[in-house]
Every structure is written in C-alpha cells, then in structure tokens.
Amino acid sequence: MTTPTTSEIVARCQALFDDLDFTSARQWKEAEPGRKVIGFMPVYVPREIIHAAGMLPLGIMGGGDNLEVIHGDAYYQSYICRIPRSTIELGISGRLDFVDGMLFPSICDVIRNLSGMWKMLFPQVYSRYFDVPQTYEDEVGGVYYENEINEFLHDLEEMAGRRIAAGDLRKSIDIYNKNRKLIRDLYTLRAQKPWQAPASEAYLVIRAGLVLPVEEHSELLEQYIAAAAAEDRPIKDNSRVIVTGMFCEQPPLNLIKSLELSGCYIVDDDFMLVSRWLVGDVPLDGDPVHNLAQAFLHHSESTAAKYEPDPLEKGQYLVRAVRRTGAEGVIFTSPSFCDPALLDRPMLQNVLAKADIPYIAFKYAENSGQMQPIREQAGTFVDSIKLWSAA
C-alpha cells in the first residue's frame, strides 16, 4: 500500500468535513450489529469512556456554512449564536438519526438549555448534560466529578448491555493518550514550521478525529505529519499569530484560509479543544476513573468556559502560548453572541497588553460568508506587526 500524499489526506479529511450526513460514522455503526454512536458538543467530554463501552464518540460542532438552517431558526431568537440552531437542524433533518446519545458539556447557558431542548425534541435519544466541576480540589470537585463520570459510565453500561471493566478503560485511555500525543506533535510542527502544515489543512485533519474511530485517526495523523513535514513548501513572509475564541462554534474553513491568505501563520488556536483538552498522558496504572478526573482537574487546558481561581494566573496560558510558539500577536475571533468568549475577551486583552503582545479582535458566525473585511483587518494587523517589530 502506498503512503498517501498530503493532498490525498487533506482531500479525505475535507470529504469527511463536508459530509453532514456523517456517512463514515453511519458505516462504522452498520458494520457490526449492536454498535452505538454517542454525539457530543464542545468543549470536552471524556471520550475514553465512550470508547471503552465499544461506542463511537462523534463530535457535533454545528452545521457549518454548508448547512442551510430552516427549522433550527424557529427555535432561537436572532441574538443567540448559530451553533445551537444548526445542531437542532442536524437533528430535525434526520442527519443524526443514527446517533444513540448526545452529550452537552457545561460550556454556557445556550448549550446548557439545548440539553433540555434535546430531551424534549428527541425523547428516545439518551441525552446528558455533562456538568464538570469548576472547583479543583481533589476532595471537593474531584469527588463530585468522579461520581459524575461513574454515573455516565453506568449509563453507558446499560446502553451497551455489558460492564465496562477498568481494564477496558485503561486500554481506551492508552489509545487516546497516543492520539493526543500525535495532535501535540502536529501542533509542534505547526509552531516550528507553519509553512509545512497550514492551519487550514491541520484543521481538517484534526476535525476528522471527531468522526473517525480514534485508532484510524491516529494513523491518519501519523501519515499527515510525515507527509507534511516532507513537503517542499515555500516559506512565506507571514506573521505568526495565535487565534483564540473558536472553542465552540467553529469558524468557516474560508475564515481560516482568509487569515492565512492575509499573511498569518496560525501557530496555535483553540479549535476543537476536546482533541487535546488533557495535557500530557493520563496514567494507566491505578483507578482509570480517578486518573481521568485528576487529569481534568490538574492537567487540562484553559478556556473561557473554565473558571480560573488564581487571579494572577488568569490569561497567562495565552501569554505562555505566545512565548512557546514564537507568536507575534493574537487574534481574538469570537462567535457573535458568545458569552464565554466575549466576556472573557477584555480580561485576556488586558493580560496581553501588560505583556506587550499586540492583538486585534473580530466576530464571526459559523456561516459567515463575507471574508474581505476579515482579510483587511488581519492583513493590516500583520503589516503593523512587521512595521513595529522592525522599528
């Protein structure tokens, strides 16, 4: 079997991204009787548990800019973001009729309320609001979270008709550790040589991991990293930037491409945080539920939906990301009406200002079509970075 080229891998990922019928996930389910698929929304769920139950975790990141929302708009006022309306559209149009369960992580009030709506609209589907702790002491938030995980585990055992043994969970953790390591490697490549792995390609490759079985995705990641690193791609006179705010409603792919076309190397981002929410490997020895809980409490990423108890630490993750990746600026890209991103933004901007890191900000929707203003804004930002750094 020949090793696929970068463009072949990206084409495959593009096809998966474009497929709003989730054909690959359907085929996975149909391949063996009794298989089940559990959908989940941003930001984070412990996919290892779903995997250990023999089920496929399916990331539902809204309908994107290719989905015409007809029914979904009847459920939301104009001043609510687009992801819940396109998600309802996916549900009502039958595109998720093969999904056996839906998880709604505690990210904001819109997704929170959507969990209740889903229960009413699709009463035959297992729906769970995944409420994570915002307190991080082991004996307080830790105990609460372990109980929540065990409750979820028990629900999946009932669905699966079998017990999920600790050994099953450890195997799944090991597999996801490998997947996360590969994603970290991809981000390292992007930071070191962003011209080799453009953000618009990497986005598709990472996003494929939300619909493919994790084992297949890890193989795809290995192939892409090797192929992309070997590509002969010209180095452009771009500025290195970090984009932040895209942790829930995803940007149109054209937005990412537009940023790159306007002179940005996107060296870090917060797209699809579930893929690398846990930082580092989750230990394999001992109680796997406890280990997953510990990883969440003490070794997880930062984002607007997560409380930062230490005021001095607030926003520092962004400063560290800038230093680590050699970024020259930050672009705040928030979905319209996104409370977490928009309320957090002024605080993060203050932190960047104190660290002398330039930034700009704009809003988008998952179906934004007009990219010219974004190109102009980003292009001017890049020019100003080059101008002032030369001075």
């Binding site: 009030d109 609001y129 005021p311 977490p340 309320l343 002024p346």
Partner: protein, 435 residues
C-alpha cells in the same frame, strides 16, 4: 412673543403602602452600604440566584447585589450611559447588560441609587448558580477590586432532580472553602446556630411570601405578580431574608393583600387602582427596567394582570414547597441554590409555566425575551410552543432587554400586546359560540 409653555407637573405615581415600605427598606440598605467604610462594616457582593444572605449575615457582612444595582440604574434611566461606557472600554454589544451597567457604573464613580458612592467589596461571593455569565462578571470585578473571591458552584438540575452528589458537592464546598474564607475575610468565627436562627426566620417570611403569591388565584387578583412582583421579591431575594425586616415586611404585605381580597380589589398600579380585570396572564422572562412604568401601563390599560411569573422565582422557588430548613443548615443552602428558576432544566421550566396557567386560571402565556440574557432566553421559543400545546391557551412573544434602553421599542411591544389581547378575546368568543 412666544407663548410661555408650562410643563404639566408629572403625574404622581401611586404606590401601595407595601411598595413604599419596600422602598424605605431598600433606601436604608443602600445608606448602610454607602456608609460601610465609616461604620467599619465589611461588604460582600453576590448574586440573587444563589444568594446566601443568611450565611453572609453570620459573618456580619453587608450584602451588595450588583444585579439589584443594575436594576436600580435601569429604573433611574442611568443604565444606558453606563452600558455605553462599558462598550467604549471594550465590552461587546452582545453580552449581558447587567454586567455592562455594573462595569459602566464603576467606571463613573460607582454611585448608588442614593447618590452616594458604593464601597469596594471586601469579598466577592461568586455563587455560580443558574447563569454562566456570573462567572465572568465576578472575574471582571475581581480584576478590578483584587479582593478575595469565593467560588461556589451549584450543579445544574439537568435531569429535573437534585441528586445526593449535588448536595454533597455543595456541602463540601461550604465546609472546605466558602466558610473558611468568609471567616478569614470577616474575622468572625462561624456559628452554625446563628445560621439556624436566620434560616428559621427565612422560612417564616417565605410562608407569607407564598401566601401572597398564591393570592393571585383570586378573581380579581389582588396583586400583579410581575410588575408588582418586582417590589414583593426585593426583600426575600436581597439583603433581608433571614432578618426580622423580611418577616415584618411580608406580614405587612400579607395583611394588605388580605384587605384587597376582602374588598374584591385588583392590584395598585402607578396610575391608581386597577380597573376591571380583563386578562389574566402568566409571564416568562425578566421585565424591562428602563421603561418599566411604560411597559406596565401597556398591561393595566388593557385590564391585563399578571397572575404568575417565572422571574419572581429567580431568587428561590418557594411556591414549589422549598423552605429554608434550620435542621439541615448547609444542605438547605444547597437545596435553595439548586432550586432557583434559572437552575432548572427547560422541561422543568415548561412544567412550571404550564402549571401556573392552570393553577391561576390564566388566559395565556407571555414571553418577554431578553436580548442579552442567554440563561433565560435560549429555548424560550420552544417553551412558548410547548406551553401552548399543553394548556391549549395562546402564547405571545415580545423582545426587550433588561437595562439597555436601545432595545425597548415601545410601539413594537404595544402593538404585539394589543394583538395578543385581541387573540385572547377571539378565543373566548370562539369558546362561547361553541358552548
């Protein structure tokens, strides 16, 4: 020579005795707040949903509620300028206007409704209950005030019930974090018996509050449970629950309501006693405060009384049986937080509203959707359709905002309300003809 134009004196706003009493209580509280530095009292800022006033009282802390400050700013038509100040400083036009009003008010000197400066808080009691925005709001205040911030997470009642895990989590937070930090800030040792005493007083006031709320089952209703309700919930949702003041107020209000029921009277409106009760409504969603009287007038001019509302449950769902229980002090604080309206799942909210329509024999449901409040607003269109389906009563939908005057379009709202009242009439005539 130009004729001299004499402005007519503003019409006197009529208030009943309990409303005046409530105003006095609030005024006294703001005076206490604004003189805290002189008196040496320490100030805790917290939120209405999840307001642990009884606990704060155990530490001699004076309760400051930024949401109430924003409401007062809205009622006084100051919030518009505050919001624009906050937007000029970088806050998005899309986010909660309570937050922006508070941020803008701070930027302009933090002057309270009594015209005096409010003190910087000594502690931020971040009761993360029923609203994501609360987390960010107090992170923003923490950035400014650099004071102790105590975080209490209230798990969401997604499955329509309180679980042991939820209670245990909250009790552990009280024991391990909340109480030790309140001790440290206040210098006062926690006395659980003191808390029990306050909780017992809360329960007394809650009994009378529920009696008052349920008086709306009378025809005509002696109260307006939305516009008038804003006055009624002030003490119980704010700094008075657990204190004798709240017991006295609700006893006073209860007697006032009894007198109106005996006389067959409707509620008192700003223009005087309500005329004929023609429509009985259940309202979902907070009111608009910048045009509060104008908004209310659109109802009572048409003979519409609100007999039940969801907003009057944001600080506790006492009419569903909850009472603060001194026998289980920490557990009861947890149950109180868990049960507030905005911490209830969408199915629970629908059930509550549908029950209200039946219990209070309402003609229909009105949803006032608030542009900047995702906690209330996301899902309200489904709520409206589902309540209509379950009750067979018509529902209507209007859109305003809490305290941003730019989002109150009087003509639009009045037009929709008039159409809605006509719809109710038509349904009635249809039922009459069928009979």
């Amino acid at each position: 020579m130009k004729p001299k134009v004499t402005k007519a004196p503003p019409a006197e706003v009529v208030k009943d005795a309990s409303m005046l009493k409530q105003k006095e209580m609030m005024a006294a509280h703001y005076d206490r707040l604004s003189s805290a530095r002189e008196t040496g009292e320490k100030v805790a800022s917290t939120f209405v949903p999840g307001n642990l006033n009884e606990l704060l009282m155990c530490f001699d802390l004076v309760n400051n509620l930024p949401e109430v400050n924003a409401i007062q700013s809205g009622l006084r038509r100051q919030s518009g300028a505050y919001i624009m100040e906050a937007e000029r400083s970088g806050h998005s036009e899309d986010v909660c206007t309570y937050v922006k009003s508070d941020i803008g008010m701070m930027a302009k000197g933090n002057i309270g409704p009594n015209g005096k400066q409010l003190p910087d808080p000594d502690v931020l009691m971040l009761s993360y209950t029923g609203c994501f925005t609360f987390m960010k709001w107090f992170e923003l205040l923490r950035e400014r005030y650099k004071c102790e911030t105590i975080f209490l997470q209230t798990p969401y009642m997604a499955d329509g019930k309180i679980t042991p895990n939820m209670i245990q989590y909250m009790v552990r937070q009280f024991k391990e974090d909340v109480i030790p930090k309140l001790e440290k800030v206040s210098g006062v040792k926690f006395d659980i018996d003191r808390l029990r005493e306050y909780l017992a007083k809360s329960a007394k006031a809650e009994d009378d509050l529920v009696y008052i709320l349920k008086s709306a089952r009378n025809k005509p209703s002696p109260i307006d449970a939305y516009f008038g309700g804003i006055y009624y919930i002030g003490p119980i949702f704010g700094a008075f629950r657990g204190a004798d003041d709240a017991i006295d107020y609700y006893r006073f209000l209860r007697e006032e309501v009894d007198q109106r029921v005996a006389a067959g009277l409707g509620p008192v409106t700003p223009d005087g006693p309500m005329g004929e009760e023609r429509y009985r409504l259940v309202v979902e969603g907070p009111p608009n405060y910048t045009n509060f009287r104008q908004f209310w007038k659109m109802f009572y001019e048409e003979g519409a009384t609100v007999v039940a509302s969801s907003y009057t449950k944001v600080g506790g769902t006492y009419d569903y049986g909850f009472r603060h229980d001194p026998a289980r002090p920490l557990e009861t604080l947890a149950e109180y937080c868990l049960g507030v309206y905005t911490n209830r799942s969408l199915p629970m909210r629908i059930e509550m509203l549908a029950n209200y329509i039946d219990e209070y024999e309402a003609d229909g449901l009105l949803v006032n959707s608030i542009k900047s409040c995702n906690s209330f607003s996301a899902g309200q269109l489904l709520i409206m359709r589902e309540v209509e389906k379950r009750t067979g009563k018509p529902a209507a939908f209007i859109e305003t905002d809490l305290v941003d005057p730019r989002y109150f379009s009087a003509a639009n709202v009045k037009n929709r309300l008039e159409s809605y009242f006509q719809m109710i009439e038509q349904k009635r005539s249809g039922r009459g003809a069928a009979a």
